[in-house]
């Protein structure tokens, strides 16, 4: 499945999946919604090699979810990619299910790293890069970061080291939805000038509309041609994308929807 129309349909379905699995136990719906098209493009757009039937295939391209609060999106993506039956994700946040509120490596097939405390995924990805060099394997390593997450110092330690080692098989994608938990990033702790920071650290930078799957794929493919330095795509997104009343209210971060809100959200998504 790689034509854009079917990918958009898949993205619509994934938003419904997020609502399905968070309806009881809760979860970060708005942070998941902003990343739907990014994960759709990465997993289903033909830009990563992976074998769901062999999750630890040594030559697989890696995808590390550093913003672990997008878990309610990540599990449906992994299920629809074929790692587990879709039925399995209904046990999100349930005891003994392995579907931790924030993904834990080794607990669910396809989860490459543990997350839930921000800032750690880029360093882990860099470890995969070094391992690939030692093993002589040519896989690529993709890491999804949140924008608020980029306030963590470890991100910039990893950014510095990745450029130092010319890690040109490393791609960071930032889900730049412009909000952290307590408000707009520009107001709470500005990242500006964001692209310039990455460039100053020695990275190749591209920006895209993070809800335009064709644009995301074009930028990923372009970045995969870059040599000699790591790459970052700043994907401009909308927190809560797809549901009007969540888009307008950042306080939905980590907050569950009421039954009425859930019904309205489904209606909006179905009509898209």
């Amino acid at each position: 499945m790689s034509d854009i129309a079917s990918l958009r349909e898949l993205a619509r379905q994934l938003r419904l999946d997020v609502l399905d699995i968070t309806a009881g136990p809760g979860g970060h719906v708005s942070s998941a919604f902003s990343a739907v098209e990014i994960l759709t493009a990465m997993y289903f757009g033909g830009v990563m090699r992976y074998k769901p039937e062999e999750p630890n295939w040594p030559e697989r391209d890696r995808f590390l979810l550093s913003k672990g609060h997008a878990a309610p999106l990540y599990y449906p993506v992994l299920a629809r990619a074929g790692y587990v039956p879709l039925e399995k994700i209904k046990s999100f946040r349930q005891r003994g299910s392995g579907l931790h509120g924030h993904p834990i490596q080794g607990s669910f097939p396809g989860v490459e790293s543990s997350s839930g405390s921000l800032g750690q995924g880029l360093s882990i990805g860099l470890g995969h890069v070094l391992a690939g060099r030692l093993s002589g394997l040519s896989y690529r390593v993709n890491v999804l970061l949140g924008d608020g997450e980029c306030e963590e110092g470890q991100i910039w330690e990893a950014a510095m080291a990745a450029a130092h080692w010319k890690a040109d098989n490393l791609l960071a994608v930032v889900d730049h939805n412009k909000y952290q938990q307590t408000g707009p990033i520009a107001r709470e702790m500005s990242l500006a000038p964001f692209a310039e920071k990455w460039r100053a650290f020695g990275w190749e930078v591209a920006e895209c509309d993070g809800h335009d799957i064709a644009d995301i794929l074009a930028k990923v493919q372009a970045m995969q041609q870059v040599t000699g330095k790591p790459q970052v795509i700043i994907a401009h997104t909308v927190k809560g994308k797809g549901v009007s009343f969540i888009e307008k209210d950042f306080s939905f971060h980590g907050r569950s929807l009421s039954p009425e809100q859930d019904a309205q959200a489904r209606e909006e998504i179905r009509c898209q």
């Binding site: 490596q105 790293s113 543990s114 360093s123 882990i124 080291a161």
Partner: protein, 323 residues
């Protein structure tokens, strides 16, 4: 009098040299072993691997959080990374990373922290590793090793790399006397009896093993025969050895270069309380940051000298006899 002199131990050697030899030996034995350095490779012994296997050595720079994350990635791909820095920098700068990136999935990462305890004495309390054992031990899957002499340093680094799962190996800046001959055997989780005795047991780890042997020499002059255990694996503790000590000697003194709250002695006391309660004394760093001073002075300030340990043992023997 230097540590170990009363007990007649062979003179001290630098642990970093033996840690370096251990890392080199592990790297020779297993091509998956790689070394990450927090820009202290000439202080920790890590440069031994850099010289022999430059492709398997990475200076991460002064960025411990990043180092732990990179180690997690390497371990996820089947490598066995040894992360090297001062024990204080590893555990205080990167605890969240050790917990989340490594421990939650039980990744096969080795943490080698040098200059631990108060061995950096004159550098001041900021870089002292006085809570590293507590922090490492608190992480569920972590094995924690505290070698007490040069030979055990080398052998336990090799053993740690052969063990599957995360391990913290603690080294020191201070040279330590030789407790062991070259042919000694180590098993992770099994304490070594380094002196037989039936009146009281002195349980030490690291520096406090030769101190305990000195204390045992003092006590022997008074007719008290102290057993000395090298609890080189402080997690998981050797419960059988602790129970045997309680049952057979009836009194236990522990010594460690660590804060007393949540430290090795308190963990041993839990085992004793739950299995075979006997009188105990826990010698450790009290709830005060040590002053800038020589390690010998700090040992005096903290009540961790051989005389202190002998005194605690003497009290317990009196308690035991009065009972």
């Amino acid at each position: 009098m230097p540590i170990g002199a009363r007990a007649g131990l062979k003179p001290a050697d630098q642990l970093r040299n033996y840690a370096g030899q251990g890392m080199l030996e592990a790297a020779q034995l297993n091509p998956k072993v790689v070394v990450l350095d927090g820009d202290l490779g000439n202080s920790t012994g890590a440069h031994e691997v850099k010289k022999a296997f430059p492709d398997r050595f990475f200076n991460i720079g002064i960025a411990e959080a990043n180092m732990v994350g990179i180690g997690a990635g390497l371990a996820s791909c089947g490598y066995i990374p040894i992360l090297t820095s001062l024990g204080s920098f590893l555990w205080y700068n990167a605890y969240d990373q050790a917990r989340l990136s490594v421990a939650l999935a039980g990744l096969n990462v080795k943490f080698l922290g040098s200059h631990s305890g108060f061995s950096t004495g004159r550098e001041g309390p900021s870089s002292m590793g006085t809570e590293d054992i507590v922090l490492a031990s608190a992480l569920a899957p972590m094995t924690v090793l505290v070698p007490c002499d040069p030979v055990s340093m080398r052998k336990l680094v090799v053993a740690a790399c052969a063990h599957v799962g995360p391990v913290y190996i603690r080294s020191s800046r201070e040279p330590l006397p030789h407790v062991y001959a070259e042919d000694v055997q180590f098993e992770i989780g099994r304490a070594n009896v380094v002196r037989q005795g039936t009146d009281v047991t002195l349980i030490g780890c690291g520096l406090m093993v030769p101190v305990a042997l000195d204390a045992a020499a003092i006590l022997a002059e008074e007719g008290i025969q102290a057993r000395v255990l090298d609890m080189h694996t402080v997690k998981p503790l050797d419960v059988a050895a602790i129970m045997a000590a309680a049952r057979e000697t009836g009194a236990i003194v522990t010594g460690e270069e660590q804060v007393r709250t949540g430290g090795v002695g308190s963990n041993i006391a839990r085992v004793v309380a739950e299995t075979y309660p006997v009188p105990m004394r826990v010698l450790a760093i009290p709830d005060v940051f040590p002053d800038t001073a020589s390690p010998a002075e700090i040992m005096q300030d903290c009540g961790l000298t051989a005389e202190d340990m002998a005194g605690a043992a003497r009290e317990l023997v009196a308690v035991k006899c009065a009972a």
